[in-house]
Symmetry: C2
Subunit: 575 residues, 2 copies
């Protein structure tokens, strides 16, 4: 049976599903078991971070994973709640409703729906390139800053106090002010869980390897660390009745498959959530695609960014109708999935089944799970994302990249992820454009013995007194058209022996309408001064367009294929 | 006496003032007389267009001209009320207060002050490049659309009816609904004045020349046309008492030098006017600088854009404190000034004196001047700016330039200049960036018999099967870094004999931090595939920066000065 290409484009499952065999099945099943165990505490924790009841995290991991398995192209990506998106969800909904209310949970569904629809639309219209405007410095800046904010937001759970604040400074002040109410039992659970998890992450593997444990077993032990922390602290709370001493626990979680839910579709609410939903979509997509590409590259596989948008869109729409909240492909869970040997998206389906069983049968087991343990798993997970060295690296390479990192970090810390990322993107676009407004223009000459032309100030080159050759190191467009005119007129002022100006166009990738008008003005002005204007090394696509206009026929000089031809022809005229 | 450079930078008057002689004086005086006569009706008309009392137009022409003469660099620019800025003033103030109220006039002063301060700040911080982001297509689009709107707004004065509307459609509907109230005496004055002025502009000069009148006299007669229309219609209204028949006249204009005024400095008002003031500043600056550069080029003079900002800023601040409203260098008045032989900015000073005399002594003469005549002068002036051929021209050259023109025009017509220009600028920046996200990447080969390399698909070139040379026709930055990776991996897939990939960097003007990370990823990936990555023709500034990082030392291949060297070296290895 042949499946039409159009259908296969939108359903990658048809590609890998046909070759699915026993070996893939066993690899995928094994990976699914490991991931499921890891996801249970993580999902609960991220739901709390988003201000939602813990079961929302489980629900957001079931149907979305299944839908991504059908529509996504990455073989190892694990979709579900992630730290940054959970934080952004809490920030977006904080202005709409109070945490714990029905309106808050409904708004979370609406946010997931809007975000899903946006991702789907971007995928269908192939707008994935929009994510490219988030530069690496901006991404690094906001990930690091978000990590700090998320970790700070969990401190109150570690201490067993109440604290709140719209930004990092307020939050820290609020924690400081409430330090008197610290619950020491909670602190001992939270701090020891945090220290234990850090040690598991950094020290357990070398420790086990040194004692002769095989690498694979050591790996599994490391991944089981969070589960061990959950089990031990839950048992401790139950056995010693620590809840009676003020330790906050997860409490009753309904035993149920994901419910069918209907997002709130009121225009007011949707209007308020449009911008947050857009930013969640783009940032979620960037996080997801970065992880997916990194993992795909390791196995020489390719992923399709536009189809990824569709996969993530479907996952979010699924979350909206099954009691979840915005999801995306997470870094930690995907890496675990990959390391555990997941071979196809079917792993996701098995994970979904595992989580469904957990939601249906295992939720009573987490009744006594202390919130401090969940906070510890979040803190340890996000602090690995925090990387301030990007500041130093970008500073040494380029001040404008540094400016973008710093701005994104500071504004994210001060006013939240949404404003931070927006400012970072706007600033990096502005700085990029600014650089192009004053392009580098080099006067070039012939490198002796070759046909190659280089900057007269950097290389020992031959020139001809009647010929001025300028290499313009930028596309010509409205923002720099006038600058070129100024440069040429300034260079000509006072130079009386010049007869020819050659614009070497090897670095000109576009000449727009405004720049064409400037070139026409330059041509006319030089003609009045008795100087001919020539072009050399004009690229194919640029020449195609110039030929449609009268500029080429009005040109006082010629168009040369290579700068060397121009030099030979004009040098002879002069000699 | 030597004047410090820093002082001379900000006071161009010190440059030209030192060489001022008798011949310059007589030229300037003659030009001033002609310009003064032309400016009287024009200033009154533009003030009415801005919704202000007619004398505001005179006041806005006196002190601003003097200040520009001191601080400006253009020798022929005439500063004062212009059509587009008057329209934008009316639009900005329409939301603040009712026309004819004290609040409206005060807000106009505030607008001029804000605009002046912004221009001054932009000048001091050398932000004149910001104006470059208004591309020629956007400027053409909004000038044409504004011309249409301004002409439409004057129809009611020609017909002697009331009409109003927030955009063109509403305005035309309102005129249509009021057609029953047409005052036929007004119509006969207005329409005949309009026809007369069009004829003066198009037909008078050939008519006089054909009858043996000298070219200079014919020119003067053409310029005197509007004055003739003013005199004749004013006399007619007075003699036949047409005001009694419902013809609206200018009426009493106070006989006074420009008053000292204080703008309203309340925070609320300034907050509301910030954005309009910014747009008025930028658009006014663009109009002014275009005119100034055109005129300067004709006489081989140079103007300094940043100093122009200071000159215009001073002029607007002057307008704010002397009963005016936002001003800029106008096209029509500057051309008249230039044609009349103005040689230095002193012409402006003499014009100011002329207008001051007019404000003090001649205002009773315009009592009976019909508003329909002023409307006719505005219509004829702005319709010469309307040029729809830009649509065809830009369509044939580049679809994205066309999109920018069309968007600017339609949104300006539908929702006003501010939104139209903003959308036009945003769209043209977006389209420019979009083009750079998917750069042209050409596979190149050697043009036989030369050292020149061109696209293998366009030229008949030599290549070597083990060497792939890609010329990347764009700077590498965050928005296209990932695209390059995809392109290279796609090209490599299936090609098993390749051993070398050369990136020819002649068109790469910048490599930012994100692109550097992509290059590092490509280098690593190719290394794993047993392929070496080389660079050729890297520009000086780009190489300087790359050398600071470990990328060059990690590079599996070499960096070649010219592509030809790379070809020879790698071809030999293969042979």
């Amino acid at each position: 049976m042949r499946i039409p290409v159009a259908v296969r484009r939108y359903l990658p499952v048809l590609d890998w599903g046909r070759d699915y065999d026993k070996s893939a099945l066993s690899n995928d099943l094994m990976a699914a078991v490991i991931v499921t165990i890891m996801l249970i505490p993580q999902s609960l924790a991220y739901a709390l971070l988003a201000g939602l009841p813990p079961e929302a995290g489980l629900y957001a991991s079931i149907v979305p994973i299944l839908l991504y398995a059908v529509f996504g192209t990455s073989r190892a990506l694990a979709v579900g709640p992630v730290a940054v998106v959970s934080l952004m969800t809490a920030a977006a909904l904080g202005n709409i409703a109070d945490q714990g209310t029905m309106g808050y949970a409904l708004a979370a569904l609406t946010l997931a729906l809007l975000s899903g629809v946006m991702l789907l639309v971007m995928g269908v219209f192939k707008l994935g390139f929009l994510a490219n405007f988030l530069s690496h410095p901006v991404i690094s800046g906001f990930i690091t800053a978000s990590g700090v904010i998320i970790a700070a937001s969990q401190i109150k759970h570690l201490l067993g106090i109440d604290a709140s604040g719209g930004n990092l400074a307020e939050l820290l002040m609020s924690i400081w002010g409430n330090l008197g109410n610290v619950n020491w039992t909670t602190v001992s659970i939270g701090v020891s869980a945090t220290l234990f998890l850090f040690w598991v992450r950094k020290g357990l593997k070398p420790f086990l390897r040194a004692r002769g444990v095989g690498p694979r077993a050591a790996d599994v032990a490391t991944k089981a660390g969070p589960v061990a922390a959950v089990v031990v602290t839950t048992l401790a709370v139950w056995f010693f009745d620590l809840a009676g001493q003020g330790v906050k626990i997860v409490g009753a979680v309904p035993q149920s498959l994901p419910p069918l839910t209907m997002p709130d579709l009121s225009f007011d609410l949707m209007g308020n959530l449009l911008l947050p939903a857009f930013l969640i979509s783009v940032i979620g997509f960037v996080e997801s695609i970065s992880v997916a590409q990194t993992l795909a590259a390791k196995r020489r596989q390719r992923i399709n960014p536009d189809q990824e948008l569709i996969g993530l869109g479907a996952a979010n729409i699924g979350a909206a109708f099954t009691g979840g909240y915005p999801v995306t492909g997470g870094f930690a869970r995907s890496v675990v999935n990959f390391d555990a040997g997941a071979q196809t998206p079917a792993t996701g389906a098995y994970t979904a089944v595992g989580l469904a069983i957990a939601a249906l049968a295992l939720t009573p087991l987490v009744f006594f799970l202390p919130q401090a343990t969940l906070a510890a798993t979040i803190i340890v997970a996000v602090l690995t994302l925090v990387d301030f060295t990007i500041l130093k690296k970008s500073w040494s390479y380029s001040k404008s990249d540094f400016a973008a990192v710093l701005t994104t970090m500071l504004i994210t810390l001060g006013s939240g992820v949404e404003l931070g990322v927006t400012c970072g993107v706007v600033l990096s676009i502005f700085l990029h454009l600014y650089k192009t407004t004053k392009p580098h223009i080099a006067e070039v000459g012939l490198v002796p013995g070759t046909e190659h032309f280089r900057n007269i100030n950097r290389h020992d080159v031959e020139t001809c007194p009647t010929v001025l050759t300028l290499r313009i190191d930028e596309s010509l467009y409205f923002a720099n058209a006038r600058f070129l005119e100024d440069c040429i007129y300034d260079r000509l002022a006072g130079d009386t022996c010049l007869r020819h100006v050659v614009l070497m166009c090897s670095a000109i990738n576009e000449i727009d309408f405004s720049a064409l008008e400037s070139l026409e003005a330059i041509n006319t002005r030089l003609r009045d001064m008795g100087i001919k204007l020539h072009l050399s090394e004009v690229k194919g696509p640029v020449m195609d367009r110039l030929k449609k206009q009268h500029f080429i026929s009005d040109l006082t000089g010629s168009v040369f294929l290579s700068q060397h031809e121009a030099y030979v022809a004009l040098g002879k005229v002069a000699a």
